[in-house]
Amino acid sequence: MTEPLLQVRNLRVEFPTRHGTLVAVDDISFDIAKGEVLGVVGESGAGKSMTGSAIIGLIDPPGRIGGGEVLLEGRRIDNLPPSEMRKVRGRKIGMVFQDPLTSLNPLYTIGEQLIETIQTHMALSDSAARKRAIELLGEVGIPAPESRLNSYPHQYSGGMRQRVVIALALAADPALVIADEPTTALDVSVQAQIIALLKRTCAEHGAAVMLITHDMGVIAETADRVAVMYAGRIVEIGPVREVIKSARHPYTEGLMASIPSLSHEQDRLFQIDGSMPRLNAIPPGCAFHPRCPHVFARCREERPELVQSGASRAACWLHAGDRR
């Protein structure tokens, strides 16, 4: 098997506070292969976005990477000096943020922002960069890209702006695009378009995608593999069909059951009781045990690690083999 594009090894993100250090991402490891789409799901605060920010090296202080390593194409990138990391951002890893309304600088035209990004990473003349900007806008489905180049962000609708943001993320042909809740801020009618566009354009550019979302439906349609996060840890990771069809971890099961379905009659939507623990009060053992329907003694004492179970891996004592 060829070397994975991105390798995350025992990554830990922590926030020093006056009352001790909070761990937002706790010892997670995963790979993304070339051209693969990895979905990352979980509730708000599970550490999904923090993982994405850590990979691209944009954790806001006082947060910091507290341990582990991130390798891109075999090269370690989490400890690069800022000037080197800057060349990775945009060039190797592109990023799409949640809110397209605030992602673009209101005082510059779309063209200026695109050309600036292209010329930062590629030695292109003004006219060549402009040509590429027009091509990119055309690719993401902006009609009449040549004339829209001179428009300002406020002259675009939300969906259009997210298309521009995708074009910006792909401007320098990165190998990986991290899309952090790319459709959360959009109208429902536009969401599917943007997801399809993201998937298609990234495939055309040969870029792998790390798709962070809390929408299991989006993952089901788009991702090749999925990682489920809970309280800063990956609780289950595996091929998307496998995870959806036969979830191993009780939390994943709960997530799947709480997706509303039109096909069969449901009086009430399933819900997981309780809420995710706060970072300063993560319970010992399995972090999910206070909410878990199958909880037993060992869950309260020992923390389960990810173990192979069928095609996927899950961190649950139910699948550890030696149940006590």
Binding site: G90, R91, L107, T109, M160
Partner: protein
């Protein structure tokens, strides 16, 4: 765009007319011009004759209109004290004030913006802390005290710089400048610092807080994620967004610099219009006072107009959307 300018222009004219009304009313309530001219013991007939000669017996609106039409032509009457046309006296004094205001305004703007950007980018550097602490002094000490302190240190104790006046000046046309002589430039330093210090610290603190605000926005984060250089991010993306509110305050402050020059000019005996105004108040020289009032109002209104136009230049969101670009998904 043209409609916008015309609308703002009309507003400016209304403001000027209102200020002119105040300036006009001053003549009626501050002293009696007839008594001033003829003395206490003039006969009623003499007074009547003088009133007719000066047109003071006509109805008020007519007199107001007459006042405005003369003011527009630059005729503000004769100074009671100096017995010379007011416009002539003001023109003579205006270069001194404008030179002082220009230097302190420029100083306030350049230093204010650079210190503001520096302290925002190096938020925890020791130099930033020093600048912020010193700026507190600039904000809290009153202008006249700063002026007197500067005179005490640099003129009295050290003897480096003159404590009053403009030094030697050179006449260029009707403009008398102090920029071209050494003593003129030396005389300018202390008053300019005194006048500009408060504005500088104000601009600096404003730029700093705006800059910190902008640096937290999503589009700056996105600009980082695109791998742009920190120079492009800080000075291209962040600073431009910072400038939108800074322009307003700076515009108003430039007006204030000219208006508040009164105090600095008094402390340093700077022969500008501010000092002229203070002396006019002492002698109830109403024509000079009303002309000064109109002049300051005109400067404020003009600066505001320019600020509005600058907004237009900086912020595309204010420009009227062209119909061609209005299509959306």
């Amino acid at each position: 765009m043209i409609a916008f300018v015309l609308r703002r222009f009309a507003q400016a004219v209304i403001v000027m007319l209102a200020v002119a009304l105040v300036a006009f009313v001053m003549f009626r309530f501050m002293g009696d011009p007839i008594t001033n001219l003829l003395g206490q013991d003039a006969t009623v007939a003499d007074r009547q004759a003088m009133m007719e000669r000066l047109g003071l017996d006509r109805p008020m609106p007519v007199q107001y209109f007459d006042f405005i039409s003369r003011a527009v032509q630059g005729d503000f009457g004769i100074s009671y004290r100096m017995a010379r046309p007011v416009s002539e006296v003001i023109l003579e004094r205006l270069p001194a004030t404008l030179e002082l205001a220009a230097v302190s305004g420029l100083m306030a703007l350049l230093l204010g913006v650079s210190f503001g950007v520096y302290t925002a980018l190096r938020r925890d550097g020791w130099l930033s802390h020093v600048i912020m602490t010193v700026s507190l002094i600039g904000v809290s000490l009153p202008t006249f005290l700063i002026g007197i302190l500067l005179i005490w240190v640099f003129a009295v104790e050290l003897g480096w710089l003159p404590s009053f006046g403009r030094g030697e000046t050179i006449q260029i046309g009707w403009w008398r400048t102090g920029f071209l002589t050494e003593s003129g430039l030396k005389s300018l330093i202390l008053p300019a610092i005194t006048l500009g210090l408060f504005q500088m610290t104000l601009i600096m603190r404003l730029v700093r807080s705006e800059m910190l605000e902008v640096l937290r926005t999503d589009y700056i984060r996105f600009a980082r994620a695109r791998g742009l250089s920190s120079r492009a991010i800080n000075f291209g993306h962040a600073l431009k967004n910072t400038l939108v509110p800074v322009i307003t305050i700076t515009g108003l402050q430039l007006g204030a610099i000219i208006a508040f020059a009164i105090i600095t000019e008094t402390v340093f005996q700077w022969p500008g219009v501010g000092l002229l105004f203070i002396n006019a108040i002492k002698f109830v020289d109403v024509p000079v006072m009303s002309a000064y009032l109109l002049l300051i109002a005109l400067i404020f209104v003009t600066i505001n107009l320019i600020v509005d136009l600058l907004y237009y230049a900086v912020d595309p969101r204010l420009r009227v959307e062209r119909p061609k670009a209005a299509d959306t998904t």
